[in-house]
């Protein structure tokens, strides 16, 4: 997906003016956020659980090479094949070549952010394959040719009416009014695709190194269908998804559904241990696991930013972020949005400069850090990314006028006399400045006008008497 992060300002203005989107985001706030909070309040010791989540993810990252090798060995023993892909092009090639060599014509897909990240669908379609997204939300945005706007509910930015029109225009459906009716309609269409698909492609929520198990969570059942009915299942996932043992998985299974939707457990948790055994009545004949780097090793190598990789893609940070809840996912301009998108996108994109607006798309309020099930300190990482964009040539630096202004302002604030001089000058010049260029007027209007005299000029004057605050 081509990044449009540099258009964050423009996109967010558009989002603020979209009443349907605003309504949808209010829903996310009222439902998903409150359901997550309620689920965590019910836990006997939520803080201890989050701390365990953090430890497990850190331990996995600290031993990533060992775990990936262990995983590879175990997946292979179970009859699966492991492919390593250094970048998006390599991953696409693996899947495309596999599809072509196996005579695959139709593909059913489960929701996968990684597949969006590498633009897998476009690659397969270019090779003449028929690819259908089967998660209802993903199916909807596939019809609309839009990117996902949320990690967990990709189409929540769309109204029922918009979806009904989409079904009418793209599928020849009658214009429906009922969510159940529309869902049943989609179920019928997608059922046909499941029954005839040659290959199922999914992501993976977790990979258990100790046994080679691939774990997938969902509520709809489309992932189970995609990994049972076709003859081939391909799971494409980031290398950071590996966890050492079942015990670790157990902790993360307590955290992920609660954080994402406030559920204790998703409707279906599939623990896949290779292709079907010879005596099993159904299941795939072939299983392939594609392990994707695509910039993750670069993040791993950066100690200050490494904890970004702890992320288990729950979306809790999106649901609680005041900025995300105002502008939605598309404004962030790439696959990953919200607070996690603001730190992941700058680190994953080849051209980091494209994403320079994202670390500033935050008030640093800290709500995200409070809900992250693996305790990623997103505000700290945002601040560090801001530093890099401001002064580090590998990321920015910021344009010269900005850096010069910062240096000048720093000098003024560091010197009492300069500061007091500037204070006096600004007060004199205020009327002049207020009739200046619009940008300056806007900056000046940030606050109500300054007080007639700053505190420091009054403190030495008359003894401190009571002031009536009602004045």
């Amino acid at each position: 997906m081509k990044p449009t992060c540099h258009l964050f300002g423009q996109n967010s203005r558009k989002a603020l003016g979209d009443p349907h989107l605003q309504e949808a985001l209010r829903s996310v706030d009222e439902r998903l956020r409150t359901m997550r909070d309620a689920a965590f309040r019910e836990l006997p010791n939520a803080e201890a659980l989050r701390e365990q989540g953090r430890r497990i993810r850190d331990r996995a990252l600290a031993g990533l090479d060992v775990l990936l090798e262990q995983l590879e060995e175990n997946v292979t023993r179970l009859g699966g094949t492991v492919h390593w892909a250094a970048d998006a092009a390599a991953a696409r090639k693996v899947v495309e070549d596999l599809a072509v060599s196996r005579g695959v014509r139709t593909v059913v897909k489960g929701k996968s952010m990684v597949c969006e990240e590498i633009a897998l669908n476009q690659g397969l379609e270019a090779r003449g394959l028929d690819v259908v997204e089967t998660d209802l939300g993903e199916y909807i945005i596939q019809l609309a040719h839009e990117p996902p706007s949320h990690l967990v509910g990709p189409a929540i930015h769309k109204t029922k009416g918009q979806i009904a029109e989409l079904f009418r225009d793209c599928l020849g459906a009658p214009l429906m009014d009922d969510s159940e009716e529309m869902t049943r309609f989609a179920r019928r269409i997608l059922r046909e695709r499941f029954l005839s698909a040659d290959m199922g492609i999914t992501g993976a929520n977790f990979l258990v190194a100790a046994t080679g198990a691939v774990v997938l969570l969902e509520n709809e059942g489309n992932i189970r269908l995609s990994t049972t009915l076709p003859r081939i299942h391909v799971a494409v996932t980031g290398i950071e998804k590996v966890v050492p043992t079942w015990e670790d998985l157990c902790v993360l299974l307590q955290l992920l559904p609660r954080s994402a939707t406030g559920q204790k457990l998703s409707s279906y948790v599939s623990v896949l241990l290779g292709p079907r055994r010879a005596n099993e009545p159904d299941g795939v004949d072939e299983f392939h696991l594609v392990l994707l780097d695509n910039g993750r090793t670069r993040i791993l190598a950066d100690e200050a930013l490494r904890e970004t990789l702890r992320c288990i893609r729950c979306g809790a940070c999106l649901n609680t972020c005041p900025v995300y809840l105002k502008v939605g996912g598309h404004a962030y301009g790439w696959v990953y949005s919200g607070p996690i998108g603001s730190i992941l996108t700058p680190q994953l994109l080849q051209d980091r400069r494209t994403a320079s607006a994202l670390p500033f798309a935050s008030t640093l309020c800290g709500a995200c850090a409070e809900v992250c099930p693996v305790k990623i300190d997103i505000p700290r990482i945002l601040t560090e990314l801001r530093r890099r964009y401001a002064v580090d040539p590998a990321w920015g630096p910021a344009p010269l006028p900005e850096r010069a202004f910062a240096r000048m302002a720093g000098t003024v604030m560091a010197d009492r006399r300069l500061y007091e001089g500037a204070s006096r000058t600004a007060r004199c010049a205020l009327p002049l400045l207020e009739s200046g260029p619009p940008l300056l007027k806007r900056a000046l209007a940030t606050f109500p006008p300054p007080a007639e005299e700053p505190f420091r000029r009054t403190v030495s004057k008359s003894p401190r008497k009571a002031e009536d605050p009602h004045e």
């Binding site: 967010s12 500033f360 008030t363 601040t383 801001r386 530093r387 910021a398 910062a406 806007r442 002031e467």
Partner: protein, 240 residues
């Protein structure tokens, strides 16, 4: 007891009454207060904008001005957070610098925290008639864990009616550099906050962080809503 009072740039320029009130409140408790005009800025705006060199320079100055070991009290929650949370991070050139940063962090307090937790005082003898609602600034509530203290103090003010917003801890949208870079989102968040405040029937919004209050007041004016903002110190000093 003698304490330093740290009055940061925004309070100095935009709400000096909050500074005067802070001094008044502390002196009413018999505390000797020392104000250092040399101290201008804690460095926070630079730190958050990515200019850590400038931030460091200002942090070193702060260290210098308050090096005598006395407690430092400030009506600015975000500045206190900067000192407690980030000074040791940017003042780490050597072990001695870091030690001094941690030392300062350990004796720097936000005003309501100082009154309630250090002095164990909630009743000052203040009086203020009006309906007031508390905005929990992100830096203060999430950053410092302070939200019970301002409420405990306000509940002891004669004549004051305190009402809670539905969600007092949602970000007001200022976020320092955020309001300059994303003014529309910033304004939308302020409007949400103001709507919540209006829904409580309050006449005043108060809190421990002046930047939030100034942001709220500016947008309230733009909306034509007659809500005013008062720093906690201004209310506490009333009637003393």
């Amino acid at each position: 007891m003698r304490v330093h009072v740290f009055i940061p740039c925004l309070v100095d320029q935009f709400r000096p009454s909050a500074a005067r009130s802070t001094l008044r409140v502390l002196e009413s408790l018999g505390i000797e207060v020392d104000y250092t005009p040399e101290q201008v800025c804690c460095g926070q705006p630079f730190f958050k904008a990515g200019y850590h060199t400038e931030a460091r320079r200002l942090a070193l100055k702060t260290l210098l001005h308050f090096q005598d070991g006395c407690l430092v009290v400030s009506p600015s929650g975000s500045c206190v957070r900067m000192v407690r949370e980030h000074y040791a991070e940017i003042l780490n050139r050597d072990a001695d610098e870091k030690r001094r940063a941690l030392d300062l962090a350990g004796r720097t307090y936000e005003l309501s925290e100082f009154l309630v937790r250090v002095l164990d005082v909630t009743h000052l003898g203040s009086s203020f008639s009006g309906r007031v609602t508390v905005h929990d600034s992100c830096q203060v509530r999430r950053g410092l864990g302070i939200w019970k203290e301002p409420r405990a103090l306000l509940d002891e003010v004669a004549g004051l009616e305190r009402i809670e917003m539905e969600r007092s801890d949602t970000c007001c949208g200022f976020g320092g550099i955020f309001s300059a870079r994303n003014p529309e989102i910033s304004a939308a968040l302020a409007r949400d906050k103001i709507s919540q405040a209006v829904a409580t029937g309050a006449e005043f919004v108060t809190g421990c962080e002046i930047s939030c209050l100034l942001h709220i007041e500016r947008h309230a004016r733009d909306m034509g809503v007659p809500i005013r903002t008062l720093h906690l110190a201004e209310i506490l000093a009333s009637g003393l």
